[in-house]
């Protein structure tokens, strides 16, 4: 029972951490609080729906392709011309991008919710050290955990990662050292696309459905996690997302049912409190870039 809960809580934490990094990375590099992140996830989810009859790994690969393409297109068409705009303008622009992609999806392929039958292997339950664990929870944990390790490796060990982190901290200094905006910004969007795609694969498996507005919740989770963790540091953001996920799992098993409906209200009240009292985030000691 406890192990079962732990795997589910840690898995949800890892998923939320993944979502949060996607938001925090673009915020760090571009000052962009990207509300179109949800629609990048939508792109991945749509691929999972489209290729639902293919082997699951093929669908996942296609989800990555779809999400990366949408992420890069949004950069090219909307955010590139606004590279020198202030963060609020960027945020409004991302609203527009979000609505545009959602409308496109509604117009063409997703006028209504589509069911995606869960893969057979996900429905199984396995016996792990005496606990009855669902394969879905295991997959969430394994996939998101792997992605987190991969992102940590890329950020910490590769030249691109160092450049991304430098650009996230001080874009002007980084570019005066020769870090190229035209390399770093698209790379950040590609990374975000991959993260979103993996997130979407997990979300589709958990929800069993795809709809045009499915990106809203995960996007909001990413924003809340990033603010809680401190938007300027990826590590802080990931930790913020992880704790948010773990806390959600805990709350959902502890809170009485009639209060669970108000979970968002509690969450966003906490968000406002953090913004007002501790704008640098709960977990970060660093100074945050204000407005």
């Amino acid at each position: 029972m406890i192990l079962e809960f732990l795997i589910s809580a840690v898995g949800l934490g890892a998923l939320y951490a993944l979502l949060t990094i996607g938001v925090a990375l673009l915020f760090g590099v571009l000052g962009l609080m990207n509300f179109a992140y949800g629609e990048i996830i939508l792109a991945g989810a749509f691929a999972m729906y489209l290729f639902r009859d293919q082997p699951w790994l093929v669908a996942l690969l296609m989800a990555i392709v779809f999400a990366v393409v949408v992420a890069l297109l949004s950069e090219r068409l909307a955010f590139h011309p606004l590279r020198n705009a202030d963060p609020v303008t960027l945020m409004i622009a991302s609203f527009a991008v979000s609505l545009a992609i959602q409308s496109l999806a509604r117009m063409t392929v997703l006028p209504r919710t589509r069911g995606v039958a869960p893969e057979d292997f996900l429905a199984h339950r396995v016996d792990l050290l005496g606990a009855d664990v669902s394969v879905l929870d295991l997959l969430t944990l394994a996939l998101c955990g792997t992605m987190l390790v991969a992102v940590a490796w890329m950020m910490g060990r590769t030249s691109l990662g160092i450049q991304l982190r430098a650009a996230a901290e001080d874009f002007q200094m980084a570019s005066s050292l020769g870090v190229r905006a035209n390399l770093v910004i698209p790379s950040a969007f590609v990374t975000v696309g991959v993260l979103a795609a993996v997130g979407s694969a997990v979300l589709v498996a958990r929800q069993g459905a795809v709809s045009a507005d499915m990106g809203l919740q995960p996007m909001l989770i990413g924003v809340v996690g990033a603010v809680l963790g401190g938007m300027s540091s990826l590590k802080g953001a990931a930790l913020g997302g992880f704790l948010l996920g773990a806390a959600t799992a805990l709350l959902e098993s502890l809170l009485p049912t009639d209060l669970i409906a108000f979970r968002d209200a509690f969450l966003f009240s906490a968000l406002i409190a953090v913004l007002v009292v501790r704008p640098q985030g709960l977990l970060s000691g660093a100074k945050v870039r204000v407005s």
Partner: protein, 366 residues
């Protein structure tokens, strides 16, 4: 800073704006049922965006949460004007401490006022947030406010009917009532801009810390404008409910927020004229797009739902890229000077409000 000139000089802008709204009202009165409906809702939008402009236009801080005030106004009006016997049938599970809601009843004008006050109360409660936050953080916090209000309205089923519609609100909003409220709101917004508090707040737009250092209590002025704008947006919500006679919680969420953002950004969020013109222009555009989507221009073949939203999003993006300060920038509507076509530069300097400058500089920050 321009000295307060002749009375006609000072009142030129609000009078012109009210005349514009009057024009919209006359179009509505002269037109068929559909036109009347579009005109009335456009004027309700003017009220809302004028309210939003009282805060955003003076402080330079964008808010994504004002629709929450509109929601409070609409729900208040519903509670106060739905006939008592219908209410008893609609709300069978009211918690004991709210059971008085069933019997509460007021005339529409009283309900309108109470709706504004109720929104203003939420404004008072939330004012410490905007008093302390700027830029992006304020944007996120105001959005969070909207999400909280939406979540509560959507989940507190016993009191708010949750995702079911509020129905049975008597239609009390006439186009002339909407016009009267819009005119009053424009006058109030203009009066606030010219007031001491409004002028100081506009001075803080350029440089928050410089204004703070020179003794301007930016937080207090922001809170004041926030509460005033909440009141006006509450009125808009009340008019909305009193016109449509039924509404759903989803009317007060991201779609509405987005539409109002398009209005204020397209018009120019720093200028009251921009807000009013943006509301009228975008309302008209939305109706055109609705007809396009229904197939009225394509020989009856309906376009897929979503086309209108897509075009609206494209309009917003183009505005942000090509003219981030909107159609009006920091200018206000004035009559052309005696020379029929004054040089554009000359015109601009004449029309500029006090302490006008590029807000993007201020917002850009670090």
């Amino acid at each position: 800073m321009k000295k307060l000139g002749s009375v006609t000089g000072v009142l030129q802008t609000p009078v012109l704006l009210i005349a514009l709204v009057l024009l919209a009202a006359l179009v509505g009165v002269g037109g068929d049922v559909t036109v009347a409906r579009v005109a009335t809702l456009a004027i309700v939008s003017v009220v809302f965006v004028t309210g939003l402009s009282i805060f955003s236009g003076s402080s330079g801080v964008m808010s994504f949460g004002h629709v929450a005030f509109m929601a409070v106004g609409a729900y208040t009006t519903a509670y106060l004007t739905i006939p008592v016997n219908l209410k008893a049938a609609l709300f069978t599970n009211l918690p004991g401490w709210l059971s008085w809601l069933v019997d509460a009843h007021a005339s529409f004008l009283v309900a309108l006022l109470v709706s504004g006050v109720a929104a203003a109360v939420l404004g008072v409660v939330t004012s410490p947030i905007v008093a302390r936050l700027s830029g992006l953080q304020s944007g996120i916090a105001t959005l969070a406010l909207l999400l909280i209000v939406y979540n509560v309205l959507n989940s507190w089923t016993d009191v708010t009917r949750g995702s079911s519609s509020m129905i049975g609100i008597p239609r009390n909003t006439t186009i002339w009532l909407a016009f009267a409220v819009a005119a009053g709101s424009i006058a109030a917004a203009w009066a606030y801009r010219r007031s001491r508090s409004g002028l100081q707040l506009q001075a803080s737009r350029e440089d928050y810390w410089a204004a703070q250092a020179s003794g301007i209590a930016v937080g207090r002025h922001r809170a004041l404008s926030w509460i005033l704008s909440a009141f006006v947006c509450g009125l808009a919500g009340s008019l909305y409910a009193g016109y449509l006679t039924s509404f759903n919680v989803n009317s007060f969420f991201l779609t509405a927020t987005f539409a109002f953002i398009v209005m204020i950004v397209l018009g120019g969020y720093l200028s009251l004229s921009g807000a009013v013109i943006g509301a009228l222009v975008v309302s008209g555009l939305q109706e055109l797009l609705r007809r396009l989507q229904d197939g009225q221009f394509t020989g009856g073949s309906a376009l897929p739902a979503g086309v209108a939203d897509l075009i609206l999003a494209a309009v917003l993006l183009l505005t942000l890229i090509k003219a981030p300060l909107g159609l009006m920038g920091v200018r206000e509507l004035v009559l052309p000077r005696r020379r029929r076509r004054a040089a554009p530069d000359d015109d601009a300097t004449e029309a500029v409000t006090p302490a006008a400058e590029a807000p993007t500089q201020a917002a850009r920050g670090a």
